[in-house]
Symmetry: C2
Subunit: 364 residues, 2 copies
């Protein structure tokens, strides 16, 4: 059987550095666990713009649709701030999401025991936290038409359109209920049905999917503003949260920051299954390109490595190997290995990106 294929798009800023450690881990799985991937590398974001004048070349897009999974580092940086909207680094990422039809974005907000002190929240509120946010990723105000800046009378008006069809809501709701069944069996759906008709439809469809096909899962609904409050007040009340693209962007970042260690959080963006049963899939850390520390060997590679662990689990049905990798990471953290972002008030000497890679390989 042919090896599974991976397309690595390391991107900008700290992307290449953290991805460098991921490729070492991938190699380890080939040598030690007989799990060999055919790996290709290409460009996305600002570096793609620099070379091709577009943040995602058509050939890269085509290849992303063919491989078994895409691993992405991060995109963006101050150098590209004044580019036209249509060629900004982010457009490369958004095009991948849209054309791969990656409608279900899984963002775990998990608190690692060894790092519970890093949270800005009091320890008892956050220790043991394990939430999964399922964010709709291919629709809503991110992609709705009409959009743009238009002349109107003698001034300009900026317009975007929030837009959800029943089937778009249906499929992401299903992915949330499926996930919940393998976790705490609880889903909380968030919208602003008190203000937005798109939220009314959202709530109705989520409820219908529940009642028809997932009556065993506990379902609640919450307004998104209250959701933000409840995340800050008592995050452990949640198991799976399902929400739309824009609310998901904000609420998942809020939840991520609750854990206090953004450098630790991976994400998976999944589409419909292919003929071979594998979903179209892109894996990326939740953190951004961190241009302020790029190129200094300071970045924490764990979020990116955990994204590869999600790939093992969701694309390659290798849950045990994923758990092996996650356990190795727990171990190095318990042993006190810390990149600069994980240095607490006690101080100490941070290790570098590649030293963290070394430590994880050693633990494996």
């Amino acid at each position: 059987m042919a090896n599974p294929t991976l397309l690595i798009l390391a991107g900008d800023g700290i992307g290449p550095e953290v991805m460098g450690q991921v490729t070492r881990i991938i190699d380890w799985f080939g040598v030690k666990r007989d799990l060999t991937f055919d790996v290709e590398h290409d460009l996305v974001g600002g570096c793609a713009y620099d070379k091709h004048g577009t943040p995602l070349h058509d050939d890269t897009m085509a290849r992303a649709l063919e491989v078994d999974a895409v691993l992405l580092g991060a995109v963006g940086g101050p150098k590209y701030d004044n580019l036209d909207f249509s060629v900004k680094p982010e457009r490369g990422l958004l095009r991948l999401r849209k054309e791969m039809d990656l409608f279900s974005n899984l963002r775990p907000a998990q608190c690692f025991d060894a790092l519970a002190d890093f949270s800005s929240l009091k320890k008892h509120l956050i220790a043991g936290l394990d939430i999964m946010i399922v964010r709709e990723l291919t629709s809503g105000v991110y992609f709705g038409e009409p959009r743009g800046i238009f002349e109107e009378g003698n001034e300009r008006v900026g317009i975007n359109t929030q837009r959800y069809t029943e089937s778009e809501i249906d499929r992401v709701a299903r992915s949330a209920f499926e996930l919940a069944r393998r976790r705490g069996n609880k889903v909380c759906s968030m919208e602003k049905a008190n203000v937005m008709e798109s939220g009314i439809l959202w709530r109705e469809v989520v409820q219908k999917v529940h009642d028809e096909d997932y009556p065993d899962v506990e379902l609640s609904h919450m307004y998104a503003d209250n959701g933000a409050m409840q995340l800050v007040r008592a995050p452990k009340q949640f198991d799976v949260i399902v929400t739309d693209n824009l609310f998901g962007d904000i609420l998942s970042d809020c939840a991520a920051m609750l854990t206090g260690s953004l450098g630790m959080l991976p994400s998976a963006s999944l589409g419909a299954p292919n003929a071979d049963g594998r979903p179209k899939a892109l894996y990326e850390p939740v953190h951004g390109s961190a241009p302020d520390i790029a190129g200094q060997g300071k970045a924490n590679p764990i979020a990116c490595i955990l994204s590869f662990a999600m790939a093992l689990r969701y694309s390659f049905d290798q849950g045990e190997e994923a758990a092996r990798l996650e356990a190795a990471i727990e171990k190095v953290l318990a042993d006190g290995a810390r990149t600069a972002d994980l240095m607490g008030e006690e101080g100490g000497t941070p290790i570098s990106t590649s030293e963290m890679g070394d430590a994880i390989l050693a633990a494996l």
Copy 2:
């Protein structure tokens, strides 16, 4: 000279209870400080629907446009959950905001010394917190057209429209810069200019207003998802935050919850100045109608009383009297007066809504 006029719309749930204490305070200012208001009472929200079949009667709307300030309690409750969207309690509130053209919603997120332990955040991150969120309140996705649930092919689609004109952004930006000058002189503007064209226009206009008329104020821009993270990570970095209607809804609730005492937070919604120089204005607590504790005398009236203090300051140019009222509240808290929502882990016996009113009157 005629007395200034106040329209009190106590609304639903705990609204009438907390407003009951506000009227006692208003009476005190009449008797003791020679500051007499002509007070009228009317209905909004579910109680208005019960009586008139609409959450805001046209006569109430007309009166709101005539008086010097409106004080609102809270709207909504489970009894009204299944009402049609067009007559839900919230529509009454949204109609007031829109027809009074209250474009600038001031939401302080302040941490009271005596209550710093209530926050879910670690004390050093929150003690002394004093942020002002300026939320645009009359436009954006709350009011943009087209909106609704439509048939499309053989399914339904939910649509809302995010929409901002230059002048809408201009005026709320000005109000934020004006406020900043009387505070820490710093404004952070939040949007998603990396994804939404309405955000690009937002950023551009805020920058232009700054450069032309408020170059002395320190201005920064932040993506709203990062804003949510930064609020959780290090809220004291902010002075004034200015943002749109929907981001403002979520971010201000997130910020409010950081303080840990939602029952403490007031808000002011201001429009353009009338001929007499007073802005059209509505004051309301940030908390909702809390149906679970309504009618039990448990609710904390402080947020609503502090909303009246904001009225004294912003509508009636009585900053000193506002400060007097705020100081009385600080004092009763320092003395240990606590309604049920302010009970910490140490326990103790909570006082009732009216006992809190008694204590504040005594301190005055």
